[in-house]
Symmetry: none
Subunit: 203 residues, 4 copies
Amino acid sequence: MRNCHSPSSERRQQFMDAAIELASQRGYEGATIKLIAEKCNVTVGTIYHYFKNKEDLFRQAVQERAFTSILATLLNDIDELPIEKGLFLVAQGFLKVIREAGMLVSIFISESVHNHEIGTIYADMISQNRQMMQAYLDKKIHTGQLGAIDTAVAVQIFFGHFFMAYFHKELLKMDNLPDIDETFVLNSVNLFLRSWQQEGTHV
Amino acid sequence: MRNCHSPSSERRQQFMDAAIELASQRGYEGATIKLIAEKCNVTVGTIYHYFKNKEDLFRQAVQERAFTSILATLLNDIDELPIEKGLFLVAQGFLKVIREAGMLVSIFISESVHNHEIGTIYADMISQNRQMMQAYLDKKIHTGQLGAIDTAVAVQIFFGHFFMAYFHKELLKMDNLPDIDETFVLNSVNLFLRSWQQEGTHV
Amino acid sequence: MRNCHSPSSERRQQFMDAAIELASQRGYEGATIKLIAEKCNVTVGTIYHYFKNKEDLFRQAVQERAFTSILATLLNDIDELPIEKGLFLVAQGFLKVIREAGMLVSIFISESVHNHEIGTIYADMISQNRQMMQAYLDKKIHTGQLGAIDTAVAVQIFFGHFFMAYFHKELLKMDNLPDIDETFVLNSVNLFLRSWQQEGTHV
Amino acid sequence: MRNCHSPSSERRQQFMDAAIELASQRGYEGATIKLIAEKCNVTVGTIYHYFKNKEDLFRQAVQERAFTSILATLLNDIDELPIEKGLFLVAQGFLKVIREAGMLVSIFISESVHNHEIGTIYADMISQNRQMMQAYLDKKIHTGQLGAIDTAVAVQIFFGHFFMAYFHKELLKMDNLPDIDETFVLNSVNLFLRSWQQEGTHV
DNA sequence: AATGAATGAGATTTCATTCAT
DNA sequence: CATGAATGAAATCTCATTCAT
């Protein structure tokens, strides 16, 4: 039988889920141990059986939930598709992931600036995604489907755009911004492709 | 002689500066009144002589520092320049502003998600900048310097790109990202223009 | 084992007792949480483990101690006695109760004016006592032991007299007032009865 | 020209009025120097030119406003009237005085218990009124208009009744109590007189 | 006389963490 | 494993009072 410190103990997961959810709603400071405990119908002491302290709880929670692998799978799947279809699916997939991990995104955004540990986890995650995407674009350049663009910048623009759109529209609920629907993604991808596909350019 | 509640009282400014600086380093919760007071060599009580409470201090500090007008001036100046030069200067100006307001940016990013008041100030600021930039691009389309693009999306991409670049590279200090120097800006602008200048496209 | 929120937890009672005692000596504001905690040999935090806040502590303390039932028992016991004996016992009982609850009386008197919540508890208590006593007097009128007096006013005079006597002599320690002893009560009751027993009067 | 410490300086009066009014609404602790100053359109420092400290301000304010002399005048006026008319006028006058000094009454009631200084002022005032009234009743016994009652107790009952009636009905706003109007006063006086006028009784 | 900035002490409240049971 | 009472440190805020101007 697993002891309580096993990473897959149901209780541990429950605590981490509650921690993430509360922190996404009220910030790290606002997600108190008492609230987390109440949400899980246990008392404060119990949390300390599973995690050394609050920071430990959050580090593990964020760590386990960082979304990397999804992009890997996705890029593999679309390798053979035409680029416009591929980029569309990557964008859709990326949006799906950050929407599902919306609570995590809130935490990354608001804590990364001050909390070095979380900042590092976030940076690593971003970096891995960027590298995979860059490799994908490089291959497309190689096969002539894209012009000779600076893929480092291109990847930044690509993810940055969808991330900011999500942040402003869906996290901060700014109205008077276009909905992030299929049309929006399509238009965005087309805008990128028009620039990336021109032959003979060197950025 | 000005009284302490005049917005331009030197002491008030000093307190607001300290508040912003501390919050950018340690977050809203971490920027305690005691720390702010110590930074200004006064006692906590003094802060409350100038501001009703902590929220009031931060609201006023953020409000007064929100950077809007700079873009207005900038767009006016570049109205007659060729578009590639104009966009380059806008991007440079935008980066200059958020670099100077770096501390504010940290606060906006990390607090907007949980603090509705700051979120609103941030959203208003973003919205104003977006509208001005959109008007500029619309005019350029009218004069034939740009193709018939969706300027709402274009503006989002433009600012979003530079913002994310700044956020990742200079706020979160992610290495293995290109420096945000003149070359980076130039390359980025070119990438955008290639797509925006194509005739006959409709996004 | 009882948890700390059970109304009969010993600790809870101890805190409420200390709160009442301190408030009766120094007023609501003067009865600080720190003092209450010290009196009970715990730290301030502990108080907040048992009560939401200071107001909560006092509301519950006052609520639980409001003296109603005693009069009910008393009036039942004296139902068959001659009226002069009955009134004497009621007066004695009333004085006994407010003497025992002396600290509560201080609080009711001094806080009811400004603290609406305590004012309401006090008013309810007064009202219940008044109604029971009025019913008793009404019955005595019915059986012909009292004249046709206005029992509402009579009850007010009866309790008001003993209350003021207690307030001035024993709470405020005004000297040059007669002691509130058996003779005083007897004289007072006689004075009332002389007026109440006259036949054929209608107030 | 009077200096600011002259008792009749208009400013001093204004401060004391404001202090009494605020304290009657919010209690002694709630009547802060800042509020008093604001009510008088001056700044905190100014109050300290006129009074040594907060306690000094209140002691003087309460002292000057204690209502003694009115009863003296009144009792003089009614000396020749029949006793039932006289008592009626005394009761009316007493109610008028405490109604006009309603704010003072609040303060006396709520502060006397804890604040020894105010308690003493209150006790003195009560004592003086009681003595004058007792002298009046003694005279009436002497002239045969009243029976041989214990005037000390009678005075206590008389003032106590009207005071409690005022306290409960008009200060604490207890509803389901009779209005303290002319009828109420008349009924009350009659109730007292019926008892006081019987010959041959000895209380 | 008047101002109002500044202070220092203290009040309420919150919270991560510990520990005996 | 779980409880929940208890702690201690710290945060926000209030307020009477002082004092240079």
